[in-house]
Symmetry: C2
Subunit: 146 residues, 2 copies
């Protein structure tokens, strides 16, 4: 399984919990050190996006608010909140699957990493496993509508 | 004491803990329901800005990820992470003291609340108690340099 496939598995689990199916894993030295999916409903926490949860978990484990040797894999383009958290944590590389024209802040909206108030940007790789990530979200929202 | 003075007291306490002196309070129905200052160092959590901490605390207490009857008072202009969290939590009014041209995302940088990927913006009131908020930060950074 690739790291993005692990992130997709977390997204699927989030969907089964009734959360928007987005998942993330944080990788350091070739190992997954944190994995989670959205939990905003379960935790009554609007900041409990998959990215924030894995960053908080990894920083707690590594006892630092900066984790510059870590790479993040996430199934959807991060929003402004998560992009800024990625920047504050000094994450090295960001891999995301599907773009998010409604809420994304990497290649859409405020394009946080290109803004003058961003003081660290990761290397960015977009589009890996885009089709399955998008399929999960589409199925989820179609299921809610019907 | 005004609500912003309570936020300033939290900022001062954060400074005494060695954190960047920024404080916030969340108000509902004329009462403070959450108050805190930055704790990124103490918690090894890059997301532990004052705003995120009070939003998480209030949402947990009110058992909802949306708290539309709440107003946030914070001593510094929120960054992109906090601005997006304020939006997700559907906060009604944002009062901030000092502007932040280096990291702010309300009236600087990506101006999150005016971006096309922002789906809720609070009413915004800036500049209340700007002088004491700025003074606290200036003193803190001068102290660190010397």
């Amino acid at each position: 399984m690739t790291f993005m496939e692990h992130a997709l598995a977390e997204a699927e689990k989030a969907g089964h919990r009734g959360e928007v199916p987005i998942g993330a894993v944080l990788v350091s030295g070739g190992l997954i050190i944190a994995r989670d999916g959205n939990r905003t409903l379960e935790l009554n926490d609007p900041t409990a996006h998959a990215e924030v949860l894995v960053i908080r978990a990894a920083c707690a484990a590594l006892k630092s608010q900066r984790i510059p040797a870590c790479d993040l894999y996430v199934t959807l383009e991060p929003c402004a909140m998560c992009a800024a958290a990625i920047s504050f944590a000094r994450i090295r590389r960001l891999y995301y699957a599907a773009g998010d024209e409604k809420g994304g802040a990497v290649d859409h909206g405020g394009r946080f990493f290109s803004s003058p108030t961003c003081h660290h940007a990761p290397e960015i790789y977009a589009g890996i496993a885009e089709a399955p990530a998008r399929h999960l979200l589409k199925e989820f929202f179609q299921g809610r509508r019907s």
